[in-house]
Amino acid sequence: MNDAGGKLTELQIMAAASSTLVENGYRQSPAPLGEEWTAQFARVFEDPYSVVAVAVFPTWAELKDQWTAAQASLISAMSQSISSADPKVWEGYLVLLTPSTAGTDRAILDSIRRDTSRTRKLVATGEELRRVVDIEEILGPLLPLEANAQDLMIPEDPLESLASLPAVRGIPLAAIERVVDAFRNQQPILERLNRAGGNG
């Protein structure tokens, strides 16, 4: 986010997109997308699955006018390096970004996005690109899923960790243990609780 306008600049967008892709296993081509593009705002990335071109336009109007050229450049780059028999030749992705807003052209934007004739397009304008994290979100389809199953592992028996839950705080630990034990052993729960004197 720049200090002046409160929105991301083209450079910031490209930098964020590049770092995001590289951090997620993409390699960046040192060359620009094509001769007509500058490496500052149009770059090529590749991972084992796919080839990704990221083009950042100063304005929505330029994006609207030039996205087909960018796609042609990507197709050209891929065809030069990947044989037509290689499945990867079908795995081209074109990321079209601009810090400016599409305004009333949302339908056009959507039509670009829906055009899957040669490559899949990921399109975002200033409406969506407000923070760096928004760029990561736009690039999401190209990134590994962040769901880390290990982080979401649940204990095999959640009753073991019941007493640690905030909701259960304030209940005597012994009472919780008796209740859980009775439940596991299919014993009358309140009977067990009562045997301890009704106060846990």
Binding site: R27, Q28, S29, V44, E46, P48, Y49, S81, I82, D86, P87, K88, E91, R106, R113, R114, D115, T116, R120, E128, E137, G140, P141, L142, L143, P144, L145, E146, A147, A149, D151, L152, M153, I154, P155, E156, D157, P158, L159, L162, L165, P166, A167, V168, G170, I171, A175, I176, V179, V180, F183, R184, I189, L190, E191, L193, N194, G197, G198, N199
Partner: protein
């Protein structure tokens, strides 16, 4: 846990035995509708749970009509994270099913197989009353996305169903189960406590009754002297006519009963005495109050009556004779008068016919003298009868009447006298009988005197009875007091026991109430804990769902998904929400703003989010049965790109009926540097099953080509 192979025989679309190689990171199953794709997924589910919920949970439909062996049999080979091989074989012959489980090289006993399998695959399900159901739910909610039920989570399920399903999946189901079990236990507890409380009232009443009873019971010590009177009193009673009996000691519990018996007998004797006294008194009074009437002279009266009757008879005879005489005389007088009349009439006739000669005898006669004579005859008077007979008869009749009147008087007197005589005789007889009844068979002397003596004696005896009875009553009262004193001890003991019981019951109820209160707190805590767990898990799952949904990107405006949970009336609810971040619009009913294909995409996104968001699934796999239908190209590509990423974390088995889409999937899911992707093509289905082509895709030779 990862799937290695699946062998199917006689199951659904597979008549003959087929083994599918599923030991890959990604398996793409391609086949036209009806070729058996879904049967592959159902076979996995059936092998694991013994039921296919979408088929109604019954086993009959799983058996292929063209099974070569006549049974359905599925063998599923799994591999655990630690490399353990787990083989499940399930069979169904149309009547019963069987399952064998082999872990490593050891077969688990059949009786333990189902439980062991759940323990291996879904340990949290063991907290569920039906662990197999819990496993099936976990599989169908988070592992196997069934073609027919893709949108159930969005459309068909209620908010509570979703919450319950999520709870089960993230392990909070155990907390919910515990909560439900506690609620049931608390309800039973409350009923039992209420029943106990109902026992309080009678117990309190019993204590109050015993306290009142104790107040009423005599407390001073017994009069020991009275005990000494007891034999003497009984002896007196026997003397007075009570039947003799064995005498219980004064302190005996039966004394009161014996005393009452004696008193009753005493009463009976006393009543007899009273009756005797009354009879004596009445008899005496009667003798005194009724004067002896003079005895009439009945023989004299009889004699007089006889005399009168004889006189009357004589008078009657005389009267008859007089009347006969008078009648004869009257007849004679009548004959004389008739003769006179006849002569007169003849004289008159002769007079009229006086001729010279007698016309009768034709002789000469003196005419004058004859005339004279005839005239004399005519003028002669008829004889006058004397009335002496009439007077005599009247006199006799009057005399007779007088006699009859006298006779009537005398006969009445005789009757009266006879009645008086009979009365006297009857009274005498009655008195004799009454005296005999009183025991005086042949008394001598004036009855009034000895009746008086007897009455005096009876009254003295009665007085004795009164005293005996009074003494008996005093003894009985005293004996009752003794009993009360004895009873007082019993009541004191009973009261103490009842008070103790009451205190124990009140204490027990108070403790039960305390336990119930604690249980209620725990239930509330568990309810919140369940919600807390679900919220916590949803907080972790929601970003995954959001990213997944964003990658499919089915809707141009509603691009953000939220998974919201809340408690309502103590029950957890959960629902997906969609947000348009630009307009900051939120909808709580995605089904109303999404098209059918968009809703499908959302459902798949949530399913995959749950699949990825639950770390320890029964299988580390995502089984997607033809999930991609009616999607736009861009959404389709988005979904496939997503699935490609899922492959990095889950063993992926996906089917499609679309050959082109199958090719796209094969390409997208191809192995890159290592790993394995298998493509299974089902084609040309016949009764014995489809033809199967299995192909293993190889990694590309060069990983990077554009960027060297």
């Amino acid at each position: 846990m990862r799937i290695r192979t699946l062998t199917i025989e006689g199951f659904r679309a597979f008549g003959r035995s087929v083994m599918l190689d599923l030991d890959a990171e990604a398996v793409v199953i391609v086949g036209a509708n009806g070729s058996g794709k879904t049967s592959v997924f159902d076979a996995i589910l059936w092998a694991l749970t013994g039921k296919v919920v979408r088929l109604g949970g019954v086993e009959a439909p799983v058996l292929s009509m063209w099974s070569e062996s006549g049974e359905a049999r599925v063998q599923l080979a799994l591999m655990g994270d630690n490399g353990d091989a787990v083989d499940i074989t399930r069979g169904y012959d149309g009547r019963k099913s069987r399952m064998t489980l082999t872990v490593g090289n050891e077969q688990v006993p059949d009786a333990l197989a189902a439980g062991t399998l759940v323990k291996y695959l879904w340990p949290v399900g063991l907290n569920n009353p039906d662990a197999s159901d819990a496993l099936a739910l976990a599989l169908t909610r988070a592992v196997y996305l069934q073609q027919d039920n893709v949108r159930d989570f969005i459309d068909a399920d209620s908010d509570e169903d979703r919450f319950r399903a999520i709870s089960e999946l993230i392990g909070a189901g155990a907390v919910t189960q515990l909560q439900s079990a506690m609620e049931r236990s608390r309800n039973q507890w409350t009923r039992a406590t209420t029943a106990m409380s109902q026992d309080l009232l009678p117990l309190r009443e019993r204590v109050a009754f015993l306290e009142a009873d104790l107040d009423r019971l005599s407390s001073p010590g017994p009069d020991a002297k009275l005990g000494q009177e007891w034999p003497a009193w009984l002896e007196s009673c026997v003397s007075a006519g009570v039947e003799a009996r064995e005498l219980p000691p004064w302190s005996s519990p039966v004394t009161a009963n014996v005393g009452e018996e004696i008193m009753r007998e005493l009463g009976a004797v006393e009543r007899q005495m009273h009756r005797r006294e009354t009879e004596l008194q009445n008899l005496l009074a009667e003798l005194r109050s009724t004067p002896q009437p003079p005895v009439p002279d009945i023989p004299k009266l009889n004699e007089e009556v006889s005399r009168l009757r004889a006189e009357i008879e004589a008078s009657r005879l005389r009267l008859v004779a007089l009347r006969q005489e008078a009648a004869e005389r009257s007849r004679q007088e009548t004959v004389q008068a008739e003769q006179v009349d006849d002569l007169r009439r003849l004289a008159a006739i002769a007079l009229r016919h006086l001729e010279e000669r007698c016309p009768v005898c034709d002789q000469n006669y003196d005419r004058d003298s004859t005339r004279k004579r005839l005239e004399g005859v005519i003028s002669s008077a008829a004889p006058v009868p004397a009335d002496t007979d009439g007077r005599a008869v009247a006199e006799v009749a009057q005399s007779l009447s007088s006699l009859e009147a006298q006779l009537a008087t005398r006969e009445a007197d005789l009757e009266t006298a006879s009645q008086i005589h009979r009365d006297i005789t009857a009274r005498a007889t009655s008195n004799r009988r009454r005296l005999a009844d009183l025991g005086f068979a042949d008394p001598a002397g004036a009855p009034e005197q000895w009746l008086e003596a007897e009455l005096s004696t009876a009254r003295e005896k009665l007085q004795d009875f009164v005293e005996l009875r009074a003494q008996g009553e005093r003894l009985l009262v005293e004996r009752a007091r003794m009993a009360e004193i004895s009873r007082r001890g019993e009541v004191e003991t009973e009261l103490e026991r009842a008070r103790l019981e009451l205190a124990q019951l009140e204490g027990s109820i108070a403790q039960r109430e305390s336990t119930k209160d604690l249980a209620s707190k725990i239930i509330e805590a568990l309810r919140s804990a369940g919600d807390e767990l679900v919220r916590e898990r949803l907080r972790a799952v929601e970003p995954v769902a959001r990213r997944i949904y964003r990658r499919i990107d089915p809707h141009p405006a509603f691009t953000t998904v939220h998974l919201r949970s809340w408690l309502l009336r103590g029950r957890g609810h959960m629902a997906p929400q969609l947000e348009d971040p630009i307009s900051q619009t939120l909808t709580e009913q995605p089904g109303l703003v999404l098209s059918s294909s968009q809703a499908n995409a959302l459902a798949v996104a949530i399913f995959l989010a749950v699949n990825l968001g639950v770390g320890n699934l029964p299988l580390d796999a995502a089984l997607l049965d033809d999930p991609l239908q009616s999607l736009d190209d861009v959404n389709l590509l988005g979904l496939i790109d997503l699935i490609r990423r899922v492959k990095q974390q889950r063993q992926l088995v996906i089917s499609t009926h679309d050959r082109r889409f199958g090719q796209l999937l094969a390409r997208k899911l191809r192995p890159t540097t290592d790993g394995r992707t298998v493509v299974i093509e089902l084609r040309d289905w016949q009764r014995e099953g489809p033809q199967i082509l299995q192909q293993s895709l190889q990694p590309a030779e060069r990983t990077f080509q554009v960027v060297a």
